[in-house]
């Protein structure tokens, strides 16, 4: 694959980024046309950042973390506490959140990355749940317990109030940069290492590569994305819910990645968009039974399109242009099916 796509890679990256930026930045204009609204656009962009970072770990390295809520939530609480007690400016808050996330990811990585597969998933889940319980019990004085962290602060960026579209464009800019970095990682030797870990870590180890270090760095990068998303969540809305630390948040990002298409970077973001759109817009049409309908959609996607929406798109493209895209389509479908396991 790399040989075939090497020559136009940078040009294609540029195009991808340009299209991505155009779609994201114009979101406040097209989302209301399909029943969305401004705040939803911001939330979608924030979750898209989370999803891209998650894909670096799950899609590239093949490690299924069920504990990314730990980074998302801890970072959100850090931002919340900074905004409430230190300064209403978002930059120190975000800086502190990223530092805390990096430190936490380093620690958790050292402990959990010793194991792979299901054991890794369970370990991360257990640690994340410990954080959730701790926030509800011993740290209740700081976190506000089940009430969440409420505050009357209005976050600002160097004097600009972070409300409405300001937050959106701030988050969108970060999402575009984040997506660009993820693309660069994918095409870099480091990204190649991550993908080698996924295909066969043991063989890589035998060739003399210090696999643990690569895994650790991949894990930490992914955690920082989650941390940035968690921090933005509080800037977008100065309130921290304990749900941010709950396993269901980790579960949600896994589901978004799977229905979008693991390992494709764009796929998980599509998944995030779909989930949030469904939860907030379609829900109002369906009424009480919306969770049931959502469950059925998941099942259908996983059974008939294990590669998620991205596989669906490729099949569609293959059907429309049978000559040109079918070869490439089949190729990437195979590579996308693998991570779904």
């Amino acid at each position: 694959m790399s040989a075939r796509s090497k020559a136009p890679a940078s040009a294609r990256n540029g195009l991808t980024i340009a299209v991505f930026a155009a779609v994201v930045l114009s979101m406040p204009f097209w989302l209301p046309l399909i029943g969305g609204y401004e705040a939803l656009a911001t939330k979608i962009v924030i979750w898209a950042i989370f999803a891209v970072g998650f894909d670096i770990l799950l899609g590239f390295t093949g490690y299924l973390s069920f504990g990314h809520a730990a980074f998302f939530g801890t970072s959100a609480y850090t931002t919340g506490l900074m905004l409430k007690h230190v300064s209403a400016d978002v930059l120190p808050a975000m800086g502190a959140s990223i530092l805390v996330t990096v430190f936490l990811a380093f620690l958790l990585g050292v402990i959990t990355l010793r194991r792979a597969g299901i054991y890794f998933a369970i370990l991360t889940l257990a640690f994340a749940q410990m954080f959730h319980v701790a926030a509800l019990s011993i740290f209740q004085g700081w976190t506000g317990g089940d009430n969440g962290l409420t505050m009357s602060t209005r976050p600002e960026l160097l004097g600009i109030p972070m409300t409405g579209l300001n937050v959106f464009y701030f988050a969108a800019a970060i999402a575009i940069v984040g997506f660009y970095i993820a693309l660069r990682i994918r095409n870099s030797p480091f990204g190649l290492m991550l993908r080698s870990i996924k295909s066969n870590a043991m063989r890589l180890e035998y060739t003399g590569v210090y696999v643990r270090a690569y895994k650790q760095i991949g894990f930490m990068i992914s955690a920082v994305y989650a941390g940035v998303a968690g921090s933005l969540m509080v800037i977008y809305e100065p309130y921290v819910a304990t749900k941010f630390l709950h396993w269901s948040t980790s579960g949600e990002i896994v589901i978004m990645s799977v229905i979008g298409g693991v390992g494709t970077l764009i796929g998980p973001m599509l998944g995030a968009t779909f989930m949030l759109y469904f939860q907030n817009v379609v829900q109002a049409f369906i009424g009480e039974q919306w969770k049931l309908v959502l469950g059925i959609i998941f099942m259908l996607v996983v059974i008939f399109m294990p590669g998620g929406f991205m596989e669906g798109l490729r099949r569609l493209r293959g059907a429309v242009t049978p000559g040109g895209a079918s070869g490439a389509g089949a190729d990437s479908t195979a590579s996308a099916r693998q991570p779904a396991e």
Partner: protein, 459 residues
């Protein structure tokens, strides 16, 4: 119903946009000449706050209730009440005929037809805020309301203050809602844990003796915490002692480990600070553990559920709630004119009587609409001022007062006892009113709880 929400929402949005652009243009044209037309009606300077000024022929209310989660039963009943309130505001009927003083016409509010949108809080503060923002930003609601769960109410109350949209709380019983976390844009008609404790304490001591030892199981969030505190304080004033308290997560289904701890202690009263499905589960399991037929310290073991509702009694079953004490905001068997008018129209619409959650949500919607009529505008600071200190009757027994300093409504509440299967006279006749506690007996000074209401205009 669903069509209603969706289609109207979209076209209204477009309409709003178009008309917003239109008025802006008009305003610009008029700048050098006459005063803009839309400022003439009300004399005071009214800048845009939240979704004010209201454009178009209808005004939209948002109803954000738990359709899923531990309090879903309450949420479903709240929504029924909201729909009925909208119907009455537009067509007359119900408590519109009993509320005094009333400025409501039964032909919409301030000449505009009342429309509504609904949302699901999922009994979760984060989901509730997201849903509320959808209502505010997309659907253009001028006010929103709903419950249950105090954590959800408080989270939405902060959002209300931020966005400049009045929030009329539904079922929320925590002291914090109008205490520590009170907000200028939030109003609560429902009673709170402090009042429950004050009403219930003397009756429990009278019934079960003054030397009881209580064990609490408490839902682990703001409501549970404050209710535990209030019940503990008021029963200890009567001479009871508190053995222990265990915080249980919201939405727990298996209480056996907590109940075992109760059995192993020397407590002779179990206090369940639980609500909704949590209470159904914990009470049913306590009964299965034999706690209601047990002797401890030479006395009959007793179970108390400080916050009671008819829906919960129904869920737990008549044989389980037989004789169990608790308090409630309102019950459908009340004979005053307001309650009767509401119960009759609710039964005619849905075929069964309303719950206390339904009554509070219905009353809140009418009270908001009435305040708009009194103020003569939807301008939030004026509506808030009209609600603050508003004294009224005809929405339940006795006179009620919306206290200006903390936005808590004070009115009569009920101490009730569960009716056993042999005593009840129908499917919905589950609570026996033991005492009708007067407003003056449960009122408390404003400084009982700390907290600041905040400004009339969002920052």
């Amino acid at each position: 119903m669903t069509d209603h929400t969706g289609n109207n929402g979209w076209s209204r949005r477009r309409l709003l946009k178009a008309s917003a652009a239109g008025t802006a243009g008009l305003g610009a044209l008029a700048l050098n000449g006459k005063a803009p037309f839309h400022f003439v009606r009300n004399a005071w300077a009214e800048e845009a706050i939240g979704n004010f000024p209201v454009k178009g022929k209808s005004v939209v209310f948002g109803f954000n209730v738990p359709q899923t989660g531990a309090y879903a039963d309450e949420g479903a009943d709240e929504l029924r009440a909201y729909k009925l309130a909208v119907k009455h505001l537009n067509e007359g009927g119900g408590m519109l005929e009993t509320l005094k003083p009333s400025s409501l016409s039964g032909q919409g509010v301030l000449g505009k037809k009342v429309d509504y949108v609904e949302g699901d809080t999922q009994t979760d503060p984060d989901a509730a805020r997201t849903s509320a923002r959808r209502m505010v930003e997309r659907d253009g609601v001028i006010m929103y309301g709903g419950g249950s769960s105090s954590a959800v109410a408080i989270a939405q109350q902060y959002l209300a203050q931020e966005m400049g949209i009045v929030f009329m709380c539904g079922l929320t019983h925590s002291n914090d809602t109008t205490g520590k976390d009170k907000r200028r844009y939030g109003f609560r008609h429902f009673f709170n844990a402090y009042m429950s404790g004050k009403a219930l304490g003397p009756i429990l001591a009278n019934e079960y003796g003054k030397d009881r030892r209580a064990f609490h199981l408490t839902a682990d969030y703001t409501w549970g915490h404050t209710q535990y505190q209030s019940i503990k304080d008021f029963t200890e004033q009567q001479g009871w002692s508190t053995v222990d308290n265990i915080m249980t997560p919201l939405g727990t289904t298996d209480y056996s480990q907590f109940l075992t701890a109760v059995l192993n202690s020397d407590a002779d009263v179990l206090v369940l600070n639980h609500y909704g499905k949590d209470m159904n589960n914990s009470l049913t399991q306590a009964v299965q553990f034999g706690m209601r037929d047990m002797q401890k310290n030479g006395k009959d073991m007793q179970v108390v559920v400080p916050l009671y509702s008819r829906l919960m009694a129904q869920g737990a079953g008549a044989s389980n709630i037989d004789g169990v004490y608790g308090t409630t905001n309102w019950n459908w068997v009340l004979q005053d004119a307001g309650s009767q008018a509401f119960v009759k129209s609710f039964e005619a619409e849905y075929g069964f009587p309303p719950s206390q959650a339904a009554q509070t949500c219905y009353a809140q919607t009418l009270l908001y609409a009435n305040a708009c009529e009194v103020a003569g505008t939807f301008y939030p600071p004026e509506v808030i001022k009209a609600l603050e200190g508003f004294e009224f009757e005809g929405m339940g027994p006795g006179k009620a007062l919306y206290r200006a300093e903390d936005h808590q409504c004070f009115k009569d509440i009920l101490v009730v006892q569960g009716k056993g299967p042999d005593k009840k006279s129908g499917e919905y006749d589950l609570l026996d009113i033991v005492s009708h506690v007067k407003r003056d007996d449960i009122i408390y000074p404003v400084d009982t709880f700390a907290g600041e209401l905040g400004p009339y205009k969002p920052a």
